[in-house]
Subunit: 203 residues, 2 copies
DNA sequence: GGGCAGTTTGACCATATAGTCAAAGCGTCG
DNA sequence: CGACGCTTTGACTATATGGTCAAACTGCCC
């Protein structure tokens, strides 16, 4: 194990622990002591690896956006519209299930008005622009209903991330009878139905 | 103007200013100095009206939940299912538009795991339970599609509150060409279509 | 062993922030 | 006016927190 790899491993470990803290308490609510504690080292030692609190936070956010947008990238203009949309919803829901900390970190940043990643939001805008065009193409071909494509994307983001960001509320309402990840299965079924057919009765 | 009414007015004004601060920075990120400043009084004066930071925050949250659930209360078992659901979505979207601060305050609290209103969440659970029963009744009568009623409610919450909580993101993606509240009109149209018919092509 | 680069830490500092307190100001009623 | 109660404030305290620094430790190579 080389020195650089050991250092990288340790930085990775610190970032992982910092993510726990930032996701649970927000940027302002998180403290260096908490992060150092979680990572099992002293505060000066933590600051040996990172310049400061902002630095750690920025590092987490910058890597986040790419992963966050990956599922949308996969939306394929060559595929079948409904299949593609279903797939996108499924992937986003899986991310909410498997990476709730990242979802909360992102939600926190948005709630505050994106003070640390305002410029990175441009990439997000461009990607949405591109996929909106794809969706509009499908609509023009009559392969899906004509709806506002950007609001469609918003609603997919909102419904899926809700299960990570509002986890307490969801668990409380569902009763959280130790059913584990069952709620994600139910959510997947529901969202599939909602986005494809809506709630109108069968005719 | 009586003494008590003057005091109440002032308390109301303070709470309003505090809401600005808490919604923008979260509980931990808000400071008493900021709130006092916003309200135009000194910190000791602020603390003459409220016991402390927690006190102000609790007062805001406790009144919030009632207002927040009012639109769901209005969902009427005697009404027409699709009309009732449409109405509920519309009311929730109006709340996101007219009371974004309240939405963000609530989102903040949920993100943190509802540390200050865990017990009040019981009322929310009960109400959802009741309305889920209403929805299930409609499904049994074949007046709407059979879907998981609680997840339906979640998706309405998620999609509407998204416009308040993720406002920066929404504005960035839409281009925010000073179009004012146009996005809410578009969102209303889209959500109506989504929840009623989904995105399947017309057959 | 000795030296060196990389790592770790206790002690410390400056600032921010929740909250206190005694004293002063102010309005109203006699 | 003058006294009384409500309101306001400057000055202060205690604690938390981001960050620094010099010294000590560790493992590795000669």
């Amino acid at each position: 194990m080389t020195k650089t790899s050991r250092r990288t491993d340790k930085e990775e470990h610190i970032l992982d622990c910092a993510l726990n803290v930032f996701a649970a308490h927000g940027f302002r609510g998180a403290t260096l002591d908490q992060i150092a504690d979680e990572a099992g080292l002293s505060k000066p030692n933590l600051l040996y690896y990172f310049k400061g609190k902002e630095d750690i936070h920025r590092r987490l956010l910058s890597r986040l956006l790419d992963n966050w947008l990956a599922p949308l990238h996969q939306l394929d203009a060559e595929g079948d519209p409904l299949t593609e949309i279903r797939g996108y919803i499924e992937r986003k829901l899986e991310m909410a299930r498997d990476y709730p900390r990242e979802s909360r970190l992102f939600a926190n940043e948005m709630l505050r008005g994106a003070p640390h990643i305002q410029q990175d939001l441009h990439a997000l805008k461009m990607l949405v622009e591109e996929k909106a065009k794809t969706l509009r193409g499908w609509m023009d071909e009559g392969r899906m209903a004509r709806v506002d494509p950007k609001h469609l994307i918003f609603s997919i983001w909102a419904t899926t991330q809700h299960y990570a960001d509002f986890d307490v509320q969801v668990r409380t309402v569902l009763g959280d009878d130790g059913r584990g990840d069952g709620r994600f299965h139910d959510a997947a079924r529901f969202l599939d139905h909602l986005f494809i057919k809506g709630v109108s009765p069968k005719t």
